[in-house]
Symmetry: C2
Subunit: 202 residues, 2 copies
């Protein structure tokens, strides 16, 4: 797995030829057990790397379209799967837990609801206030800037903009680790504000 | 290939398990023919992508250790290979041209010499003043910051620091596209200055 801006967060990717960008999964070392977020398939090397760092006790899937390799990795690591409570009724895989906004069960990790996105209950995570992990709504098609899911895929553009507004208000966010595209490791707060301004200027 | 900060520059990577980072090749659309820099192997998808963007007329190899898949790609695209003049006497592959600092034959691209690095004649490129492409000397082991090749691999640390100083003086540099690790797409000038300060503080 690749290092990020923090020594306790790693990432692994798989290139998506249809969109010409990387899909990213994240691995977090946490008290109480390692965490995977929206994991793409992991190579044997990366699985061993995660095991050496403490293994995986929980896999968080931010939305129905980001299940990726969660089931196989849950089996491999003996991990529980936590899915978005707002998509429980039609989630594509069985989950051990359901997360909703404000769910306090993950120490140091804040669970946010993202409204208006492609799926009704998408989640985003804020880790120790400085690191935002996004699922589908906020992404990065190019380097050094953030993007929103294209309008055609949004359920409600105004609600989506309100979600981005909520993210852009978090002044302590340094990194924005996107599920799709280039992670932003510095000045995440400024990049979110730029995104919001660009979206509102349209 | 993945988009970068500019619509005319793309990148493609291969994960190096020994260092847990990506090795990156770059593709530039240029008047007079596409350019590859330090290309890692390209998938069939990426080769077709480059062909659709205008093909490749020249492959620049910044140093003897970054030959990577240049020979096979030169054959595939019918491209010339340009190597560093300072490593001509022992370069691992035949080159059609040799580049030295200040070489004016590539319009809009400035060729810089990097002294003190792992190999004697390493090059760096500055594209249209805003984009620095580095070979081995400047790299990024983590996200959002730049690193220098470890001391043990440097031929001359003082000379290497002088090279970084030269890069850090270029105020117009926005992106630092590294051969090894995470590309920096924003505030490249500030990241180079931070690197220089960190190296001098040791």
């Amino acid at each position: 797995m690749k290092a990020t801006h923090r020594p306790d967060i790693f990432t692994f990717s798989s290139f998506d030829a249809a969109r010409n960008l990387d899909f990213n999964g994240y691995y977090l070392i946490r008290d109480g057990g390692g965490l995977l977020v929206d994991p793409v398939p992991m190579s044997e090397h990366d699985r061993q790397h995660a095991s050496a760092l403490g293994g995986v006790s929980c896999i968080i899937v931010t939305n129905s379209d980001h299940v990726r390799d969660s089931l196989a990795l849950a089996r491999h690591f003996g991990a529980a799967i936590a899915g978005p409570a707002g998509e429980r009724s039609a989630f594509p895989i069985p989950c051990n837990r359901w997360l909703d906004a404000g769910n306090p069960s993950l120490p140091g990790i804040e669970v946010l609801a993202q409204r208006g996105s492609k799926t009704p209950g998408e989640l985003a995570l804020v880790v120790d206030e400085d690191t935002l992990i996004t699922g589908d709504l906020v992404r990065a098609h190019g380097g050094g800037r953030l993007d929103l899911l294209p309008d055609a895929k949004l359920r409600d553009r105004e609600a989506a903009l309100a979600s981005v507004h909520g993210l852009a208000e978090r002044a302590a966010v340094e990194a924005v680790l996107v599920g799709d595209g280039w992670p932003v490791f510095r000045d995440g707060h400024a990049r979110l504000q730029e995104l919001l301004q660009r979206l509102r200027a349209r």
